[in-house]
């Protein structure tokens, strides 16, 4: 309807529908990013004529994408009315799935997280269980919080995610998890809510989250390191996330330290294993007590013991920190980041000893110019960074100019012709080939 309307308008006289879509997309992004918000600023930034700008703004107000806001700064004469993006025109569903937990949230169209929920979950329960849990909580959150209908889903997944060859094409997911092979996880979730879905690796979304709302806010060059059972890094260079040729950038856990892989020495399981050994042979009295009381040990116990001054644990975490720092130093020399953020359960638990070990190795092995203003800090966002980053992924995808031009005339990405086609293809494919059952289904 809107497309017809745009074509019928005489004002601005677009040479073609494509030109109209391009100018709509350009103006929407200028307003959305607050690069230009008054008519005068929009004319200047877009280099479009006054009539065209007026026409496109009217169209987007009608489509529910823009609204008129408060008065701006007067520069002689009447104060101009500012245009505002309707970030509540739709919502974004976001989730971060990790080995032992899931996080879910709802964000607005600016990627601002509005509500979040975290709970323990075991990835080895299988994709069907996780898929069902996600759908259940998303349904509940949408109903409970009365947020507008979703426009897209952003997912942070463990392991690398291949780049999608075309828009709206789901990529093979979770190559690193044998039991998930062949399971149409993204397709099923996309179908369930009738929205496009965009996935990245957990570490990449966390990096984006830290850059948007965490310690990296306002910085263009940061490294995020996730220290969990596996170890990986994300990189934002000159404001852009670096994904690599296949989308698998940042797998630093596979660096060698002597004969071992880094994550076999400094991952959460490795630290827990060393703690168990120290509890058994009496090197750590605190861990011995904890083990006898609870029958198990985790990296959280080791971190706590270090904070209480247990010398074995202080030394263990310091050594792990140095291993991680040695793997980070070459990256630091290569990239020259302003900030390195350390996250993941090991970082949350590791306390000052771990951070001191990382700093020691990075500063020792980095060029003085590179390390001069370099900050190394622990993440304050925790798993929320994955949610904020996943929302940012959807925002960047939906509002990327080529994608935006495909739907702006319709007022919503759900009416993008290519997405409609992909939904039809998915319906046919999934109907023809029922999904394999993988694990128990929780209603």
């Amino acid at each position: 309807m809107a497309e017809e309307k745009t074509a019928l308008r005489s004002v601005g006289r677009p040479r073609s529908v494509d030109a109209a879509q391009a100018s709509l997309a350009l103006l929407l992004n200028l307003v959305r990013t607050e690069t230009a918000t008054t008519r005068q600023e929009l004319e200047r930034s877009s280099e479009l004529g006054r009539a065209v700008v007026a026409d496109r703004l009217a169209t987007m107000i009608e489509l529910g994408l823009l609204k008129e806001g408060e008065l701006g700064q007067a520069t002689g004469g009447r104060a101009p009315r500012q245009m505002r993006f309707r970030q509540d025109a739709g919502s974004l569903l976001v989730s971060a799935i990790d080995q032992s937990s899931i996080a879910l949230g709802i964000a607005d169209l600016n990627g601002q997280l509005l509500v979040e929920h975290h709970e323990a979950a075991q990835l080895n329960e299988g994709p069907e269980v996780i898929l069902d849990r996600l759908a259940t909580i998303f349904d509940w959150l949408l109903e409970e919080t009365e947020k507008p209908a979703p426009w897209g889903i952003g997912l942070a997944l463990p392991g690398p995610i291949e780049k999608s060859p075309t828009e709206f094409e789901a990529v093979p997911v979770l190559q690193s998890l044998q039991s998930w092979h062949g399971f149409p996880f993204l397709e099923r979730l996309s179908m369930r809510f009738g929205v496009p879905i965009f996935a990245r690796s957990g570490v990449q979304t966390m990096t984006m989250g830290e850059a948007k709302a965490g310690g990296g806010r306002g910085l263009s060059d940061i490294i995020y390191v996730k220290l969990g059972r596996s170890i990986s890094a994300g990189l934002i260079s000159e404001g852009q996330l670096h994904r690599g040729a296949q989308g698998a950038a940042g797998m630093i856990g596979h660096s060698r330290v002597g004969d071992d892989l880094l994550e076999a020495l400094a991952g959460a399981d490795a630290i827990a294993r060393d703690g168990m050994a120290a509890a058994a042979d009496g090197r750590s009295p605190y861990l011995a007590q904890t083990l006898s009381r609870r029958g198990e040990l985790s990296v959280v116990d080791i971190g706590h013991a270090a904070q209480l001054g247990d010398l074995f644990c202080v030394d263990l975490l310091g050594r792990c920190g140095r291993f991680v720092g040695e793997a980070l130093a070459p990256l630091t020399n290569l990239i020259n980041p302003a900030l390195i953020v350390i996250g993941g359960v090991v970082a949350e638990s590791g306390g000052d000893s771990l951070l001191a070990g990382i700093r020691e190795a990075v500063y020792r092995q980095s060029h003085p110019m590179v390390s001069r203003d370099l900050q190394i800090m622990r993440s304050q966002m925790g798993a929320s960074s994955g949610l904020v980053g996943a929302a940012q992924v959807v925002v960047e995808e939906l509002f990327a100019p080529p994608m935006l031009q495909g739907w702006i005339g319709q007022g919503s990405p759900l009416r993008h012709p290519e997405f409609q086609k992909s939904l039809e293809r998915l319906t046919e494919t999934l109907a023809a080939k029922p999904a394999p059952q993988a694990g128990r289904v929780a209603p």
Binding site: S101, A103, G105, Q112, L113, L114, V115, E116, H117, H118, E119, A120, R133, T136, I137, W140, E144, T145, A213, G214, V300, H304, Q307, V345, E348, S349, G351, D352, Q380, M381, G382, A383, S384, A442, P443
Partner: protein
């Protein structure tokens, strides 16, 4: 009860009993004579009174003065005004329970920016970060409480039966977590049970909401109410209409304890330990004021209470003897212990 839930940013819990001040910390805290204010959603509930008692006693032991207690009367604007004022007052730290979600975030953030230490109870509003915006969140394991209530109610729901959720219609983290956990437990352990829900936005409409559930689902076999006050509103409304429905809820308020002792509709409670939570919040506040590293999420497990151990549970939770009426009610029912 072990801690089942994760923190506001997915953090693993540090149990509250692991937060202890050393003798040297105590001496330093006593020498510095800190001042602390507390901002609560209400000061009239049993939970609030015990929370305050735990805070006041622990601060007092460390020569820290509790100089003001603000009752926000569940009003977001009152909370914002109180925090804004406290940012200008001569207090070293504030312990606050955020009432709304995003609406009170900025006022809390500004309090921290003013140089005061901020320790939150129950939850951090979305977007607020530990370290930058607050020192720590001290919370009961609300997820675990929801699971407990589901397990206790499940015993009263026949195979293929229906259970109701009396949910809170306001964006409140703790009650959300309880409801999500209740649903999850039922989904996994009692997939045969049909769940229905009614929400109330004001306490006075909780009874009507409970009756509405029964009208829409006549065979309803049990109800989970997200905390004790609406649970008792439901009990009264249901009793007036002649219903007797098993109910589980969160918190061992006095009325709920009496109802349990009478072997009435309340069949089980997942109770918070407000005195212990208040004490933990005070220890975390003192640690933060001393410049010690504090964990972003400190959690306390709840306690399951049944009609058979309501007296002992009362003593543990409220740090005082159970009221005479509870003991006598149990004696009348033949369930009191000597």
């Amino acid at each position: 009860m072990s801690i089942a839930g994760l923190g506001p940013h997915g953090e693993r819990a540090v149990p509250a009993d692991q937060i202890q001040l050393t003798a040297i910390d105590t001496i330093e805290a006593q020498a510095r004579r800190f001042t602390v204010a507390v901002v609560l959603h209400t000061t009239s509930s049993d939970w609030s009174k015990q929370e305050l008692a735990g805070i006041a006693a622990t601060l007092g032991l460390h020569s820290a003065a509790l100089v003001e207690v603000v009752d926000c009367n569940f009003d977001v604007d009152q909370q914002i005004a109180a925090l804004t004022r406290l940012a200008e007052e001569p207090v070293d730290a504030v312990i606050s329970i955020p009432i709304g979600n995003a609406r009170v975030a900025e006022a809390h953030r500004k309090l921290t920016q003013s140089g005061r230490k901020l320790v939150l109870l129950d939850n951090a509003p979305t977007g607020m970060l530990p370290g930058t915006d607050y020192a720590s969140v001290v919370s009961t394991d609300n997820f675990g409480l929801g699971q407990s209530c589901a397990a206790m109610l499940s015993k009263h729901i026949p195979s293929g039966g229906a259970a109701g959720i009396l949910g809170y219609g306001i964006d409140f983290f703790a009650t959300h977590e309880r409801e999500i956990a209740f649903r999850k437990w039922m989904g996994i352990n009692r997939p045969d049970v049909t769940l229905v829900r009614e929400r109330f936005s004001e306490l006075d409409s909780a009874g009507t909401a409970a009756l509405e559930m029964l009208r829409s689902t006549p065979g309803l076999a049990g109800i989970f109410a997200v905390w004790d006050v609406p649970a008792m509103k439901a009990v009264r409304a249901l009793a007036q209409q002649g219903y007797d429905i098993p109910i589980t809820t969160v918190d061992l308020g006095n009325e709920v304890a009496i109802e349990m002792a009478r072997h009435g509709m309340i069949k089980g409670v997942g109770a918070q330990m407000p005195y212990d939570q208040g004490s933990a919040a005070a220890r975390v506040t003192l640690a933060a004021l001393l410049g010690l590293a504090v964990p972003p999420w400190v959690a306390l497990g709840g306690r399951e209470v049944t009609p058979f151990d309501v007296i002992e549970a009362y003593q543990v939770i409220w740090h005082q003897p159970a009221p005479r009426i509870i003991i006598e009610s149990l004696r009348d029912m033949g369930g009191a212990q000597n």
